[in-house]
């Protein structure tokens, strides 16, 4: 059994005329761009639907629950296919054609898929955070004469967010990893760049090692920033519990 190791492969030229290391770094840029855009989307939608799930109107709660269940119970891969292959076909003719002809169609659809998928998970965490607050906080808001919206804006959400920061950082780490699923719809992010490097060079293990090291470096940086954020935003008097969710990924 022999395998010819060649760690110098990263500095050899790829068919694109740039060293393979630059191919990987270009992939990393797409990974980060997708993850960050989808994260902003997930945070906004997740906050809205997570908050709606804690309101007092049953029909609003049902709609928000339906939203969460819809995006949680379909695998991310299948959601990517739905946005990429199915959505342009079910849109009225001209919009569908316009979508298909966009230059970065796979980036846009990957971001949409990842954003909606992650927003349902963020929503669950926002709900958990709000429900973890003593109910006296809501009453205190009312007693001060705040409207329900103001109570959420000034009392409940600022507290809830500080409680769920560890869970949200887990989600952010997950979104970076999950962006690799976009390779199935043709986005050349880090994992896809690795795979194409492997196909051109047959240096399978060097290529995979390169990508693995980059992913580890990102997650170490993310962990470090998360610790800092947790320290800065800690609520005095609350036990900072560190990482909360053990499952998921």
């Amino acid at each position: 059994m022999h395998y010819n190791w060649n760690w110098g492969i990263f500095w050899e030229m790829s068919p694109d005329g740039i060293p393979y290391i630059d191919t990987l770094l270009a992939g990393l840029k797409w990974t980060l761009a997708t993850a960050v855009c989808a994260w902003i989307m997930a945070l906004v939608l997740g906050t809205i639907f997570g908050t709606l799930r804690t309101t007092t109107k049953p029909w609003v709660v049902s709609i928000a629950n339906g939203y969460v269940e819809l995006f949680r119970n379909i695998p991310l891969l299948v959601q990517m296919f739905l946005w990429y292959f199915v959505m342009p076909e079910v849109m009225p003719g001209s919009i569908g054609d316009w979508l298909k002809s966009l230059p970065d169609a796979s980036f846009i659809t990957a971001t949409l898929a990842l954003g909606f998928f992650t927003s349902s998970r963020v929503a669950v965490q926002v709900t958990t955070g709000i429900q973890a607050l003593p109910r006296g906080q809501r009453m205190a808001g009312a007693a001060l004469g705040l409207t329900p919206t103001q109570t959420y804006r000034f009392v409940l959400l600022p507290m809830a967010f500080r409680i769920i920061i560890p869970a949200l950082t887990n989600e952010f780490a997950a979104i970076i990893k999950n962006s690799s699923v976009a390779l199935t719809i043709g986005l050349v992010e880090l994992t896809a760049a690795t795979y194409s490097m492997r196909e051109f060079t047959f240096q399978t293990f060097e290529a995979l090692t390169g990508a693995t090291v980059i992913y580890i470096v990102i997650s170490v940086i993310a962990l470090f920033l998360a610790r800092m954020l947790e320290k800065v935003t800690a609520v005095p008097g609350y036990i900072s519990s560190g990482s909360t969710s053990a499952g998921g990924h």
Binding site: V78, V86, S180, L183, I216, G247
Partner: protein, 231 residues
């Protein structure tokens, strides 16, 4: 907007999809769950062990696996398993490993890292006094773990272990990236491409996944209420 849809393709192929693709996915999910929980529990015991090197190895493994994407892990093991197999049996060429075995090894090793973290918090939720009580009545480590701590940890963690299994069920779809493993999504996508019916097929796949995952998660919720211990 559904006027030019051809749902015939589903009628023609659903028996095949269920008996081949979905069966493969479900069998793989269930086997990977069993293997993952066993290996994950062992890893959790290693992480909590007072033996420093053992704890270090387990911690490194879990953190490593958890920091790289599943797609990358699938590629790693797809290419690595034939080499490791050859190394174990001393063959000179990488050995051929079947699609199912290869996927099974990947998912056991990957999900074990996640099950490990669940079991670790399960074990840590058991009051320390129980460990001392076990030792006090003369049990050794394995008797104490097997008869006192683990049964309670499993009971407390069953709903989370099951929820993680639903995640695993959805994760199995990612073997699609290999193109050669006949799971539900891959089989459906092959038919979709053969017949040029991507829209109908992918909608069907989404509906099946939704119904199964949603149904299972509702069962887990009910089960959770049933076994809840009032403290």
């Amino acid at each position: 907007m559904f006027s030019n849809f051809d749902f015939d393709v589903i009628q023609r192929s659903w028996v095949y999809l269920f008996t081949t693709g979905l069966k493969f996915t479900l069998v793989l999910t269930f086997s990977a769950m069993l293997g993952g929980i066993i290996l994950g529990t062992l890893l959790a015991m290693m992480r909590l062990s007072s033996n420093k090197p053992l704890a270090f190895v387990a911690t490194t493994y879990v953190n490593l696996i958890r920091s790289i994407p599943l797609v990358l892990v699938i590629f790693w093991f797809y290419f690595l398993v034939p080499f490791i197999g050859a190394w174990i049996i001393g063959a000179s060429e990488p050995i051929q490993v079947g699609a199912f075995q290869s996927a099974l090894i990947t998912f056991i090793l990957f999900e074990a890292a996640y099950y490990c973290e669940i079991m670790r918090s399960g074990i840590q939720s058991i009051p320390r006094g129980q460990v001392f009580a076990g030792y006090a009545i003369g049990m050794n480590y394995w008797q104490m773990m097997g008869n006192v701590v683990l049964p309670q940890a499993f009971r407390n963690m069953t709903p989370i272990l099951l929820t993680q299994t639903i995640v695993l069920f959805q994760d199995v779809s990612l073997v699609y990236v290999l193109g050669s493993v006949p799971d539900f999504v891959t089989s459906a996508s092959k038919i979709a491409q053969r017949d040029g019916r991507l829209v109908e097929m992918y909608l069907f796949v989404a509906v099946v996944y939704f119904v199964l995952s949603f149904g299972l998660s509702q069962l887990v919720k009910r089960f959770q209420k049933k076994i809840a211990i009032i403290r």
